[in-house]
């Protein structure tokens, strides 16, 4: 019988990061239903934003992950197109100024290097923006990475550490005896193991079910447009304050809510393609989208950045953010099922948080003291109905 110290389920950015770290001391098998990075982690944007996070714990977590990015290319021995290009949040509407001013103050207090720019200053950094915008916040600390390369880089580095990777293999059951994990059943046979990590992203709920654990992670659909390659014209990542308002305000406070939960996210990849997002909707795992969403995203983006109007769109992407309800992932052991760990639910921040997630899972299974302050707010029980 095949035996491993640990089985990681899911080969997205999260599962590959975890497998890589666990392999420091364990013989690990990574099981992926399709291809490495082919699901959410291959249908997403590339931003590592700090300034858009909620002050308090979310910023602390994001900073810890951002810190690891500083040396990650050296560590993984390959380019992941990590680039400190800065980030901007465009304020379109006078009504948002007050909210954004207080937001910036809180961010500065939390130690984020962010400043409020007027319209002219913002346009001197991003000449593509419309004249009518009222201002923008800007931070040099925001960065970006190529998410496709990130999953591949973690997977390759994991392989070098002895991790076996089985793609096109699905975990179909988790074998539990006397409250303990003893193995997993896959479409290519049974694997004995005492440690299983559920890194199934938006599919994590189904995997938890195999262990008899109720876990609600909903797919929050997002659509992104991709353009032809063009010379550099967008510098760093751009969001709009609508996005922040949608993320941090209640519906009551944010009255002018756009349709499909649209908020701008605009950036340019190293190869020259523009990534233009995006929407936030609950539509199950429905991949088919109507033209109206695409048109609405194009309208929103060309209003804020009219200079992109003549650029051609070559395709669109649909991805499903793993949504837990409070914007934070679950990284925890499951009480009552010894050896079953959940590391999923990173919603719109999985790329930014992948590096720290691998480290936290190791701390968790090694019962290390030092990361307790980061793990406590990510406990499973915070979301369980009591």
């Amino acid at each position: 019988m095949e035996t491993y110290d640990a089985v990681v389920i899911g080969g997205g950015v999260i599962g590959t990061s975890i497998a890589y770290r666990l392999a420091e001391t364990r013989h690990v098998l990574l099981v992926e239903k399709t291809d490495i990075g082919a699901q959410t982690s291959g249908a997403c944007d590339k931003a590592i934003f700090l300034q858009s996070k909620k002050p308090g714990f979310p910023i602390k977590l994001a900073k810890a992950s951002r810190q690891i990015y500083e040396n990650l290319e050296e560590e993984l021995e390959t380019s992941i197109e990590f680039h400190k290009g800065g980030g901007m949040i465009v304020i379109e509407d006078e009504d948002h100024i007050e909210f954004m001013e207080s937001f910036v103050k809180k961010q500065q207090k939390a130690g984020i290097d962010v400043t409020l720019l007027d319209s002219k200053e913002a346009r001197s950094i991003q000449p593509s923006l419309a004249e009518y915008i009222v201002g923008a916040t800007y931070s040099k600390e925001d960065a970006e990475v190529n998410p496709l390369k990130l999953s591949q880089a973690f997977a390759q580095a994991a392989k070098r550490r002895g991790v076996d990777i089985r793609t096109h293999t699905e975990v179909i059951d988790i074998d539990i005896q006397n409250g303990k994990v003893v193995g997993v059943k896959t479409t290519s046979g049974y694997i004995a193991t005492e440690l299983v990590v559920n890194a199934g992203g938006p599919f994590a709920g189904k995997i938890a079910e195999m262990a008899g654990v109720g876990l609600t992670i909903m797919p929050r659909r997002g659509v992104i447009l991709i353009s032809e390659k063009i010379n550099p014209m967008i510098f760093g990542n751009i969001l709009c304050s609508q996005y922040i308002a949608a993320k941090h305000q209640t519906d009551e406070e944010n009255k002018k809510k756009p349709p499909y939960g649209i908020g701008l996210s605009l950036g340019q990849t190293k190869s020259g393609n523009l990534l233009i997002g995006g929407s936030r909707e609950f539509k199950g795992f429905q991949k088919a989208i109507n033209d109206e969403i695409l048109a609405a995203i194009a309208r929103h983006a060309t209003r804020i950045a009219p200079a992109i109007k003549p650029i051609r769109i070559i395709r669109s992407m649909v991805g499903f953010r793993p949504y837990t309800g409070d914007g934070l992932p679950i990284i925890d052991k499951v009480e009552g099922v010894e050896g079953f760990v959940i590391a999923a639910g990173h919603e719109g921040d999985g790329i930014a948080l992948a590096p720290i997630t691998g480290k936290l899972v190791v701390s968790l299974v090694e019962n290390r003291k030092e990361d307790q302050s980061l793990l406590k707010p990510l406990q499973f029980k915070r979301l369980k109905a009591v």
Partner: protein, 91 residues
């Protein structure tokens, strides 16, 4: 021959594809995710058939898994200004 370009839009050579197949790639999607073959402006209209052929020729037959590399909207490149006019106008 390994220098032969298979995907012209993204400059992907036969050699690159072969090395990924030897490294365990079993689907056209996996090749696409790792090399960008098929992600260019023509969205694989020129290279898809070639990439599929490379896969069947160089991979061990029993390892190939057919996966649909679905074509996503739009069918042909469309300018943002035009796309923005689609639909019902500002809702």
């Amino acid at each position: 021959m390994n220098d032969m370009i298979i995907c012209r839009c993204e400059d992907v050579t036969l050699g690159e594809l072969i090395s990924h197949i030897e490294n365990g790639s079993q689907t056209v999607k996996s090749l696409k995710l790792q090399t960008r073959a098929g992600m260019g402006i023509c969205q694989g209209r020129t290279c898809r058939v070639l990439v599929e052929q490379v896969m069947t020729y160089y991979a061990d037959e029993s390892n190939i898994i057919s996966s649909s590399v679905g074509t996503n909207f739009p069918i042909r490149p469309i300018r943002l200004a035009e796309l923005a006019q689609n639909g019902k106008g500002d809702p």
